[in-house]
Amino acid sequence: MNAPAQKPDPSRTSHYVNDALYRALIENFSDWQDDARAVTDLAVRDEFRRLLEREARLLDQLRYDDWLAMYTPECVYWVPSTPQAGDPRREISVMFDDRRRLEDRIYRMRTGFAWSQAPASRTVRLITNVEAFATARDDTRMLRSNFLVSEFWGDETRVLTGWAGHRVTRDGAGWKIEAKQVNLIDCDQSIRNPSIIL
């Protein structure tokens, strides 16, 4: 009897991070902010703005399970270490997480022994300048937004700022995040203990 082929669980094993994914990621995050492909429908843009605001709120509230549920099972969270975001196969990233590593990140913070997050940072995120762009795929959009994260830890407030690119794909009536690229303006400089999720 032939059992249907089981798709590996991306929370447990990482089969989808392969050369094809890296090539697609580089292509998808190159030359996408094209005025000719900008989404001008205000209602649609507002839908994406609400999606990004919700993501920011969930992270500020440390609601990591709800936050992760906004992502596709085979997702990528990528914080490049250079402003040009080079090939992640030959360039160290500030962070480059598949689903399992994102879950590691959350698991670690919940151990109670993650000293950089003990106590947890308090954060407030401002998300602005939201734009959406069409892609070659009908069911996929690229979003650009600017962010400013104020992080209070110890006895001081620090600022992390930059812009993010989200690749979102249709999921029923809504959208799920397939990949998020976080571009810190000082990504190639020494950053004071980046231990929160951006």
């Binding site: 590996p8 447990r12 094993t13 990482s14 089969h15 989808y16 991070v17 392969n18 050369d19 890296y22 270490s81 250079t82 080079g86 992640p88 196969r89 030959r90 360039e91 160290i92 990233s93 500030v94 962070m95 480059f96 997480d97 598949d98 399992r100 590593r101 590691d104 990140r105 698991y107 670690r108 913070m109 151990t111 109670g112 022994f113 993650a114 000293w115 950089s116 003990a118 110890g154 190639d188 400089q189 020494s190 950053i191 004071r192 203990n193 980046p194 231990s195």
Partner: protein, 459 residues
């Protein structure tokens, strides 16, 4: 002939007397809080340590071509590390000889010359002044060597690692490294062609003294606790097959790993004896990283028996090799400590990748590096963040003025625990603080010294 200019009066002495009683500040088993908090001591370190001994600057792969440059610091001195048109590596002071303006504001690039943005003085990348606007306004001959860029007189490489010192009496670099050079060789030689190439970095900054990082570099005692969140995370699915640094959890002193001090402030912690010595032994210890199951299956399909030896190239080499005062090789990283101020430090984890030496299957190089980038991001993200949080909390703790001492006496005074070999190397269990006691002897020697420091300029 190059003009040498001697630097006088290191500030560890004021009016001919010592700034501090160094023997009181650093004792056999403890160090005084002031060495981490005192601005005058920090200032003296910038001359006597970062200047007085060999300090790591950069890796040759960061400036592979003639006229490539990167900007770095020697202590607080801003430098342009450049490979000039003849391939010679120089460390130029990044400062115009006219009024002191920063000459080069870019982190890296390729240029035959540097022009000051203020009045337009133009310098060749050898440091020689090429010209100034309207030179007839000067009575002096502008070809006087004093107008050429100051540079560090001694710049030497060991197998791609570029070090520099202002100390004219320092031993040649290879002699200074001494027995640790062999450990560096082993670290390099496991890579194809005995080479690595630097590929960007995880860069951190913490509000604490630079020595807090060096005191941590060989510390096997903190792992089980400072990195408890990492150990728990990387073993959340591991079951019986403990991953990563899990071997620290149960009596690390009874394990075959050890620390060894090799002189001149240099030491290493060797965890290799804990591993199974077989192809794949290193890979078996790796915790979960993005893409690992895909590439492992793909390598077994493509390369059969050879797969695991190749996967080991993406695994973290279990050794910490530390060259005083600012350089560590650990896992596959080159870690560098950069003082920013007495209470502020950059800790930079340069990633490394392998190169094609014609012996590794060509299509494997890209894939090994893709995996190797992900394995290298693991510790900085889930380990270093907690260490530097603890370093910052030490710096705060040391503001408790009356509680003066920091202890480094683990293993001290226990008969037969610490062994000294005929060549002077000192070996102790991996959690012992012998490494710290020893590097502070070197620190003290350098702080007491009146080093023969100089800068030079092109003639």
């Amino acid at each position: 002939m190059t003009a040498l200019e001697k630097i006088n009066a290191p500030p560890t002495r004021l009016g001919g007397t010592a700034l501090y009683d160094w023997d009181r500040l650093v004792q056999e088993d403890r160090a005084h809080r002031l060495i981490y908090t005192d601005p005058a001591i920090f200032e003296a370190e910038m001359t006597n340590i970062f200047g007085g001994t060999w300090t790591y600057l950069a890796h040759e792969s960061e400036i592979p071509n003639d006229n490539d440059f990167i900007t770095r610091r020697l202590g607080l001195r801003p430098l342009i590390v450049v490979r000039d048109g003849n391939g010679k590596i120089r460390a130029l002071y990044n400062r115009c000889t006219h009024r002191g303006t920063t000459l080069c504001r870019w982190d890296k690039g390729n240029s035959k010359s540097f022009q000051c943005p203020y009045h337009g003085w133009n310098f060749l990348n050898t440091g020689k002044l090429r010209g100034v606007p309207w030179p007839d306004g000067y009575a002096e001959d502008m070809r006087d060597p004093k107008y050429n860029i100051a540079q560090v007189p001694r710049v030497e490489s060991y197998r791609g690692f570029i070090f520099a010192t202002l100390n004219m009496d320092a031993l040649p670099l290879v002699e200074h490294l001494g027995p640790i050079a062999k450990v560096i060789d082993e670290w390099l030689d496991r890579n194809p062609g005995g080479k690595v190439v630097v590929c960007e970095a995880n860069r951190f900054r913490y509000k604490g003294n630079w020595k807090l990082a060096y005191d941590n570099s060989c510390d096997g005692y903190h792992v089980a606790y400072s990195h408890r969140s990492l150990l728990e995370t990387e073993n959340r699915f591991a079951g019986e097959n403990a991953k990563g640094m899990a071997y620290y959890r149960n009596s690390p002193d009874t394990q075959p790993m050890y620390m060894r001090y090799t002189g001149r402030g240099n030491h290493f912690k060797d965890k290799r004896p804990n591993l199974e010595q077989r192809p794949g032994g290193l890979w078996a210890l790796e915790s979960a990283h993005p893409g690992m199951e895909h590439y492992e299956a793909e390598f077994i399909r493509r390369y059969g028996d050879r797969a695991f030896a190749l996967l080991d190239l993406a695994g973290s080499e279990p050794v910490n090799i530390n060259v005083f005062p600012n350089f560590s090789l650990l896992g596959n990283h080159i870690q560098v400590f950069e003082p920013v101020g007495v209470e502020e430090t950059n800790a930079i984890w340069y990633g490394t990748m392998i190169v094609d030496d014609g012996k590794v299957p060509k299509d494997a190089v890209t894939d090994i590096n893709a995996l190797r980038m992900r394995t290298q991001e693991g510790f900085p993200n889930f380990g270093e963040v907690d260490d530097i949080a603890n370093f910052e909390q030490i710096q705060r703790g040391l503001m408790a003025l009356e509680d003066e001492w920091v202890y480094m006496n683990r293993g001290f005074g226990i008969p037969d625990r610490v062994k000294t070999d005929a060549d002077g190397t000192i070996t102790a269990p991996a959690t012992d603080e012998a490494f710290m006691r020893e590097h502070f002897k070197e620190w003290k020697r350098l702080m007491k010294a009146r080093p023969n420091l100089a800068i030079q300029r092109e003639p």
